[in-house]
């Protein structure tokens, strides 16, 4: 296998190197990639859409159809992960582990015993529990609100600075993931349950597709945001800017839900009980 791999790689590499001799010099302003459509995007995007960030304008407005299908791809990946891994049978003889906080004694209660109710002195731990986690827990508790505010800032300022819906959605999902890592997976699942993540991912895709449908109902093409000028009451360039903001919010919500779903399924191998 290794010999085949090496021969294949060498042959393909030399073909690509031979092809690279024909390239234009690096950074040429007259190269074929920079000559056809992209001067139009650079020169006209600001007056057409009132959005200074060219990448966001092209991504969500001029090429908005591609971005809608990209959101659908992310949603499909979350659904596929659930279908592959999710295991609904409970492991039948359950013995839970509890820890008495003041003395540090760990109890293992078999299935015939009586589980302690939630109280301040007994906490339920996983089978891979580690002590000495005060620093991690305190830092996480302090920093997660700021991560979420920053993520919302990234989504909202996608028009003027690098950012946008996808980046903000991933950072929001990462905030939930860091919470689930610092505490245990069960508290993470209590905050954001499986039903919420699936519904939020569907909501994100629906917001994007519904914006296009609203534009079509108002008489224009699908995903032509200038038709929103009728219901928003602004001129068409600002309507396109607002349309971009709405779809970026949809993308952000969908991506956050799918990141959290992927983490929950992978860390607990589908059972949603214990995790990293």
């Amino acid at each position: 296998m290794r010999a085949i791999g090496l021969i294949l790689v060498v042959i393909l590499g030399s073909v690509l190197v031979y092809g690279s001799l024909e390239f234009p010099p690096w950074g040429d302003p007259m190269s074929p990639a920079c000559c056809h459509v992209s001067p139009y995007y650079i020169e006209k995007a600001l007056e057409d859409t009132a959005v200074p960030n060219l990448v966001t304008a092209v991504l969500a407005d001029y090429r908005g159809y591609d971005t809608m299908f990209e959101t659908i791809v992310i949603f499909t990946a979350g659904i596929a992960c659930i279908f592959l891994l999710r295991n609904f049978q409970k492991k039948t003889p359950q013995s839970r582990l509890y820890r008495h906080i003041p003395t540090g004694i760990t109890l293992r209660i078999e299935k015939m015993g009586k589980f302690p109710e939630t109280s301040a002195v007994f906490e339920r731990i996983d089978s891979v529990w580690v002590p000495h986690d005060v620093i991690v827990k305190t830092t996480c508790r302090l920093i997660v609100p700021f991560i979420q505010i920053f993520a919302l800032y990234v989504i909202a300022h996608g028009h003027h600075s690098p950012g946008g819906g996808f980046q903000g959605g991933v950072i929001l999902g990462a905030a939930m993931i860091i919470f689930s890592i610092a505490f245990n997976l069960r508290s993470g699942i209590q905050r954001m349950q499986e039903r919420s993540t699936v519904m939020l991912s569907v909501l994100g895709v629906f917001i994007y597709a519904a914006t296009g449908a609203v534009c079509m109902i108002l008489g224009s093409n699908y995903l032509d945001y200038s038709a929103l000028a009728h219901i928003l009451g602004v001129d068409p360039a600002m309507a396109r800017s607002h349309g971009i903001l709405i779809v970026e919010i949809g993308v952000g919500i969908a991506v956050m839900a799918v990141m959290v779903t992927l983490y929950y399924n992978l860390a607990s191998a589908g059972r949603y009980d214990e995790g990293l």
């Binding site: 960030n53 990448v55 966001t56 690098p162 950012g163 946008g164 996808f166 980046q167 991933v170 950072i171 999902g173 990462a174 993931i177 890592i181 990141m259 992927l262 983490y263 992978l266 860390a267 191998a269 995790g275 990293l276």
Partner: protein
């Protein structure tokens, strides 16, 4: 941009890619992959692709590494290859 910086980071990226494929400990491979993603993000920021660099920093060096570590945690950690 400054070609010395770009050249150095390219060399580091190639070393990290070869390293991530060669180590025998899968957790080390996942962490080296996270470092590779972050160096790629720097390379794109040097070339002026700030949106792409932002996305790769949050996705590659953040969520992707965590997913790899979670998968290694649920399966085995050593490999002979």
């Amino acid at each position: 941009m400054i070609w010395q910086v770009e050249f150095t980071i390219l060399i580091i990226v190639i070393i990290l890619a070869v390293g991530a494929l060669s180590v025998k400990d899968l957790l080390g491979a996942a962490i080296l992959f996270g470092a590779y993603s972050f160096m790629m993000c720097l390379l794109w920021a040097i070339m002026g692709a700030v949106d792409v660099a932002f996305t790769e920093a949050s996705v590659g060096a953040g969520v992707s590494t965590v997913l790899f570590v979670a998968a290694v945690f649920r399966t085995s950690r050593r490999t002979e290859n």
